[in-house]
């Protein structure tokens, strides 16, 4: 049976169109994974020396155990947002003559092989080796290592229990927040010193191997609980059925002032607000506003005025870039409808344009407080906003006519690369590098004022020729109409 499952798993992975179509993205993901592995390996090998340096009067092994609490909490939080139990993939198996318990054991067992479970090992194992090399008793360290591996698995299954609860509650982040903040609060206010409690717990296991039975018991308990909840849910009408969401209707009649593009504006706003992937983009507005805070408080950026143009473009254009790069793929699910309806392409595109302009203005206004770090920053942001409105909006709409990848709106938001192709990487060059380069060059050759003036002039030119540019862009979309329809109706 397991052989069949593994075979299916293998095919699912390598026959997925992600794998076959998006080599570049896979390479990137592998690169990320390797990066994390390297980071953890580095941490594992250097931790002993770091601890010795930071706590010279403490036993480094004891000190390391003091950090375990924070690791557990951090790991739990990270998993909650990134790791999901792959329940949906078993739907086709339900009608086959396989015992339900086999399917459940398979799903749960599979989750134990997740990348999240292996990552900590890259730090823990080298650290253990270093400890043994440093003269610690090998048997104690091995028991400790074993206890940690079991803890990783406990976190793995605990996360699914928390997720099961959060799926039922209205505010899905609430359960994890409650669990984490209670644990953290108990520790912080020293009602229950979790740090030392967990730390000494692991020390006790290292000293007294029989105590390893306690984490093993917890693991078995967590597994059994997951097994029970899953068994109840493995029916088509409960968890395997996709969620039916209540409609949230809001009054969008204010869009009527935009005249003939109002229907599309309304559609775009609903698109953004009612789909998982687009919804997460509204939070990008917040990131866009706060983006400057990563740089401006640091004194080294004080002197680099050209940086403020870059940050300005990025910060005021954050939504523009993230939303704009997938035009018209956002509408790929019903592109055939739009193409057979009585619509003017130009109106459809202008609605997206207006939306992006509004976001730029909004982000600029929200970013005005950056004047605190110097008036030049505000001026640079203003010039960048004008440039975004006049040039980048058109560039990104033009780039959109090369989009050939469909997006399924109801798929998850984080780490979703669906719809990403070469266009998304290439469009960054004219979007970001060109204005930065121009600004840096003129700033260096003539001066700050001239560089600002250049960005503003380019932006204003774009605004003046808006109608003309839009005509060209619309023609570009019309020319690739059949190709887009064909590409968007292909299943990924």
């Amino acid at each position: 049976m397991i052989k069949h499952f593994l075979n299916l798993e293998w095919k699912q992975y390598f026959r997925s169109s992600y794998w076959q179509k998006n080599i570049a993205i896979n390479i990137l993901m592998v690169f990320f994974a390797l990066y994390f592995v390297a980071m953890f390996l580095g941490l594992g090998f250097s931790l002993l020396f770091l601890l010795k340096e930071m706590y010279p009067d403490q036993d480094p092994f004891v000190a390391a155990n003091g950090f375990l609490f924070y690791w557990i909490i951090g790991d739990l939080l990270m998993r909650f947002f990134l790791q999901k139990l792959p329940v949906m993939s078993v739907k086709p198996l339900l009608t086959l003559p396989i015992k339900r318990s086999t399917v459940i054991n398979y799903v749960l067992g599979k989750s134990a092989l997740s990348f999240f479970n292996f990552l900590p090992l890259f730090a823990i194992i080298p650290f253990s080796i270093m400890l043994m090399g440093d003269g610690y008793v090998a048997s104690e360290i091995l028991i400790w290592l074993f206890a940690l591996i079991i803890t990783v698995l406990i976190i793995n299954f605990l996360n699914f229990i928390i997720e099961a609860f959060s799926a039922e509650s209205e505010l899905s982040f609430l359960p994890i927040m409650v669990v984490v903040s209670i644990l953290f609060g108990l520790n912080y206010f020293e009602i229950l010193p979790m740090t030392t409690l967990i730390g000494s717990g692991f020390l006790a296991i290292a000293n007294n191997p029989i105590l390893i039975l306690i984490p093993i018991a917890i693991l078995v308990l967590c597994y059994a609980f997951n097994f029970k909840t899953l068994k109840k849910k493995l029916y088509l009408d409960s968890s395997l059925k996709s969620k039916v969401t209540e409609v949230n209707a809001s009054d969008l009649s204010w869009t009527e002032r935009f005249g003939d593009i109002a229907p599309f504006m309304k559609l775009d706003l609903k698109l953004i607000w009612r789909n998982k992937r687009t919804k997460s983009m509204t939070f990008l507005l917040l990131i866009g506003v706060l983006y400057g805070l990563f740089f401006y408080p640091q004194p080294m950026y004080k002197e680099m005025t050209f940086m403020s143009a870059f940050i300005g473009i990025f910060s005021t254009g954050f939504f523009l870039i993230n939303f704009g790069q997938f035009i018209p793929a956002w509408d790929s699910g019903y592109y055939k409808l739009l193409m057979s309806q009585n619509i003017k392409y130009e109106q459809y595109l202008r609605s997206k344009f207006i939306l992006m302009v509004i976001s730029v203005v909004l982000l600029f206004v929200l970013g005005i407080p950056y004047v605190y770090f110097g008036y030049k920053i505000l001026i640079a942001h203003f010039a960048a906003a004008i440039y975004n409105v006049g040039v980048n909006t058109h560039v990104i709409l033009w780039g959109g006519s090369f989009n050939r990848k469909k997006i399924e709106l109801d798929k998850k938001a984080a780490f979703n690369y669906q719809g990403t192709g070469a266009v998304q990487w290439l469009i960054g060059i004219p979007l970001m590098l060109v204005p930065m380069g121009l600004f840096g060059l003129v700033n260096w050759l003539i001066g700050f004022a001239a560089a600002i003036a250049l960005l503003i002039v380019l932006g204003v030119l774009g605004i003046v020729f808006h109608k003309k540019l839009m005509r060209g862009i619309t023609q570009k979309y019309l020319n690739s109409k059949y190709k887009m329809i064909d590409a968007f109706s292909q299943d990924n």
Partner: protein, 240 residues
Amino acid sequence: MIYTKDLSKTYNGTTVLNIEELSIPKGQSFGLVGNNGAGKTTYFSLLLDLIKPTTGNITSNNVVVDESEDWKPFTSSFIDESFLIGYLTPEEYFYFIGELRGQNKADVDALTSKFEDFFNGEITGKKKYLRDLSKGNQKKAGIVAALIGQPEVIILDEPFANLDPTTQIRLKQIIKDLAEKQGVTVLVSSHDLTHVTDVCERIVVLEKGNVIKDLETNPATLKELEAHFGSTARTSLEEE
């Protein structure tokens, strides 16, 4: 009204549709039948300019559909679920289509209220998104949306599939009324021979992209069609 001349569509050397000449007069209810892969959806997609013809063209109301977009105001269609916008409620979808076709909310409400019994209380006023409706209910919403804005040509691909028997009977009445009373040209494709013969004045049989039968519907048509498709089943059995 709709005139097709020398139309063909070829994918990688395989011709999936080849129609020398086909003309559909205004106000006719026109049925297209054929097995899977016969070219029904390809023909409708060409009619809606969703794919480009390899040769020839279709003229609808004196507009060549792949050259001008002027056919769009008087043509409406429902081909499949990809014509629905999943994150809208049925009402919002009707209003959206209405706005595109120059109808205000009152016009749309007036039209959709006529289909209360067709909806069977499962579409409107439910506070559900289209993506959360069942396949059959999605289809009902899509079909009614295709009737918004007094179109002169309505194209429905497989409208009877996925519908319950009651709704199928109601839909047949709706289609008949459109052609007989309002002079709308209705193009319907189906696998179900009974439904097509009930609804359509004229039936064209496609096979591997070619028109092989063009019948005026009369009481004997159903028998003839059944005999035709039955014989192809027998010959393929014998070939095996």
